[in-house]
């Protein structure tokens, strides 16, 4: 691997030249964007999370007192640990996001595989169909699910008309409805990276496995599945991360007892007007998500280096 490393530009001189070149300028735009619209707001939220709530405009104490002294406190974070409500909400969010991710994977993998193995001519049409739902508003689609899952909605009416049931099944306002909503909404984010990974996989490899004595199912398990792991990870992260913080779907489809962290956050901000605790909830959520990902990345790098 030392050969590859020596070819890379080394020294700060070359690095400076890169940032000043046309290519460097173009690639610096997204960095600037992230700096302005992610890192800066994050710093503000972090600052608020260290303040104390007061009844004023804005509703929290400034970071520096009138005498210039630093007034920061981690009370808000300690408060999250004290009240079991927050921990339960975090765990519930992780559970719902985890199960939804698994459902997306189970549904998305066969779809992505099918698309990747379909004739080249219709592959793009199939991909277009996957992202077609994005052409209507996300909110509208969630409302449509309300129409389908309601007690006098599409499914219950159909089953009652067929005589399968005589009492409507309670599907709305439950975890079940949340799973349906999240799985439905985030499925394309699972399919696209999986498709990219599977499409790159040469069919020769599976044939070689079969030639060497694998039955098709075994060839899938030993060749296709391990080689699509990068796609599985990318898709799972793309579904899991936004699903943990999901607010709209649990609010519209979930019941009063399906407490997710997005809802808690909203309540703290707009119900209690406790900005510092709400900010602490947000920061904690970020840590809960980022730390495992970073650990995973480091593990991956170490494995590849070995």
């Amino acid at each position: 691997m030392s050969g590859a490393a020596s070819e890379e530009p080394s020294g700060s001189g070359r690095r400076r030249a890169f940032w000043l070149s046309g290519r460097g300028l173009v690639s610096s735009i997204p960095y600037l964007w992230l700096l302005l619209f992610f890192l800066l707001p994050f710093a503000i939220v972090l600052k608020i999370s260290l303040a104390e709530p007061i009844i004023a405009q804005p509703p929290f104490t400034p970071l520096f007192g009138p005498d210039g002294s630093l007034q920061a406190t981690i009370d808000n974070f300690l408060f999250l640990l004290e009240d079991s409500l927050y921990i339960v909400a975090y765990l519930n969010s992780l559970k719902i996001a985890g199960i939804s991710t698994l459902l997306c994977l189970l549904i998305g993998y066969p779809m992505a595989y099918g698309i990747a193995r379909s004739p080249r001519a219709i592959r793009n049409i199939l991909l277009l169909l996957v992202i077609l739902p994005f052409w209507t508003s996300f909110l509208l689609r969630v409302y449509a699910w309300m129409g389908i899952l309601r007690n006098n909605g599409l499914i219950n009416n159909l089953l009652m008309w067929l005589g399968v049931i005589d009492q409507p099944i309670q599907m709305m306002n439950s975890d079940f409805a949340i799973y349906i909503g999240i799985t439905y909404s985030y499925l394309p984010f699972m399919i696209l990276p999986l498709y990219a990974a599977l499409e790159r996989l040469s069919p020769d490899l599976v044939e070689a496995a079969e030639d060497l004595g694998c039955r098709p199912w075994k060839a899938f398990l030993t060749i296709t599945l391990p080689l699509s792991v990068p796609g599985i990870i990318a898709g799972s992260l793309l579904v899991f991360i936004p699903a943990v913080g999901e607010f709209v779907i649990p609010s519209l489809l979930g019941g009063p007892d399906s407490l997710m962290i997005g809802r808690v956050l909203w309540d703290e901000f707009f119900g209690n007007r406790d900005w510092p605790v709400a900010s602490a909830v947000a920061i904690a959520l970020l840590l809960v998500l980022v730390i495992p990902i970073m650990l995973f990345q480091r593990m991956n790098l170490r494995r590849e280096g070995a």
């Binding site: 490899l205 004595g213 039955r215 060749i223 080689l227």
Partner: protein, 369 residues
């Protein structure tokens, strides 16, 4: 010419009228072929001639539309790839990128449920055979093209198949390595004694590797024979043209006596003499075919049964040989190649020289197709 085969030997692999259609298109169109034990058999042809489809049917990746395939007496036409005692080396090598060299080679044995100790021993043996022992722990992406090719070969050989299929085994290697690997492949084949079927588009590769060659054209077999047979006695203009280069003179049979044909070539304004045992009717249309290296080129008149005059239009110096394109009086261009036995400074024949071309009656063949 068939020293390697006993006259009464039973074919090891037998194809009977094998056809493969994709929609209206017949990729393989009625191929019947007998291949014997320990042969190194080449399927040779241009792209789209059906050679790869034929190989894929032998491996079990495609099902023939019609016809049967027998291996060692058993009908394997419908057997899935994982049940055939046949292994294939892919043109892309198809090494598993997420496994080490060792695991790649062990893969097939694991599928067969071979004991772990036995696997370790046979993998080591196979890697030894292709001289890759020290690289056992590497991943495929850390290997050179030639090393990858050897891993692919070891992965197949370790299973001790009855038949090994090789799809363009040398195509991905550079020229120097290709020559070296070619001999290595032949040595390994001799050492392990497995029947090889090689698909290639490279006629030189086919000539130097194989015991026998099947030349394919548009899904059919144009000719089967040893390299010498195919080269010296092509049956059709297609085979003659595909293997090496050749000059054709179209004419009619004027006389046929004592194994020698006299062919009148109107374009040339003279008769050509060809030794041939074929019985052809007087007046039938034939082509006389002569290989460039069988023609003698000289500035002085030649005392040979076939002799024509022309002017050197082109001269290609290739080091060991020179290739001449000589324009005859009727305007036809004839290819001649001659070994450069002298230093180029004392070259005898040069551009625009008036020359004589001549060849023996035994140096040409008569083609009717």
């Amino acid at each position: 010419m068939t020293k390697w085969r006993k006259p009464d030997e039973v074919p090891f692999l037998r194809l009977e009228g094998v056809v493969k259609r994709f929609g209206d298109f017949a990729a393989v169109d009625g191929v019947s072929l007998d291949i014997y034990r320990k042969e190194l058999f080449c399927l040779l042809g241009g792209s789209g001639c059906g050679k790869t489809t034929l190989l894929r049917m032998l491996a079990g990746f495609e099902q023939p539309t019609a016809g049967r395939i027998y291996l060692d007496g058993a009908d394997i036409t419908e057997a899935p790839p994982y049940e055939r005692p046949i292994n294939m080396m892919f043109q892309s090598y198809a090494l598993f990128p997420h496994m080490s060299v060792e695991s790649n080679v062990a893969f097939g044995l694991k599928q067969d449920g071979v004991a772990r100790v036995e696997i370790r021993r046979r993998v080591a043996e196979a890697l030894e055979l292709v001289q890759l022992g020290p690289l056992a722990k590497r991943r495929p992406h850390q290997l050179s093209g030639g090393q990858r090719q050897r891993v692919a070969l070891a992965r197949c050989l370790v299973k001790r198949p009855k038949l090994l299929l090789l799809d363009e085994p040398l195509a991905a290697l550079d020229k120097k390595l290709r020559e070296h690997t070619q001999f290595e492949l032949m040595n390994i084949q001799e050492e392990v004694g497995i029947t090889f079927i090689v698909v290639t588009h490279d006629q030189e590769e086919a000539m130097s590797l194989s015991t026998r060659i099947a030349v394919m054209d548009r899904g059919q077999i144009a000719q089967v024979g040893t390299p010498t047979e195919i080269y010296e006695y092509p049956k059709s203009r297609f085979t003659a043209n595909f293997i090496g280069s050749i000059n054709f003179f179209d004419g009619k049979v004027a006389r046929s006596e004592e194994g020698e044909l006299t062919v009148t070539v109107p374009d040339l304004g003279r008769d050509l003499h060809v030794r041939s045992t074929r019985q052809l009717a007087i007046g039938s249309d034939v082509s006389v075919a002569v290989r460039p290296e069988k023609i003698v080129i000289s500035r002085d008149p030649l005392d040979l049964p076939n002799s024509v005059r022309g002017k050197v239009r082109d001269l290609g110096y290739l080091g060991s040989v020179s290739v001449y394109r000589v324009e005859l009086e009727n305007g036809a261009l004839i290819k001649v190649s001659a070994a450069n036995t002298r230093h180029s400074a004392e070259r005898e024949v040069d551009w625009d020289d008036e020359v004589y071309l001549g060849w023996r009656a035994t140096s040409a063949v008569v083609l009717t197709e």
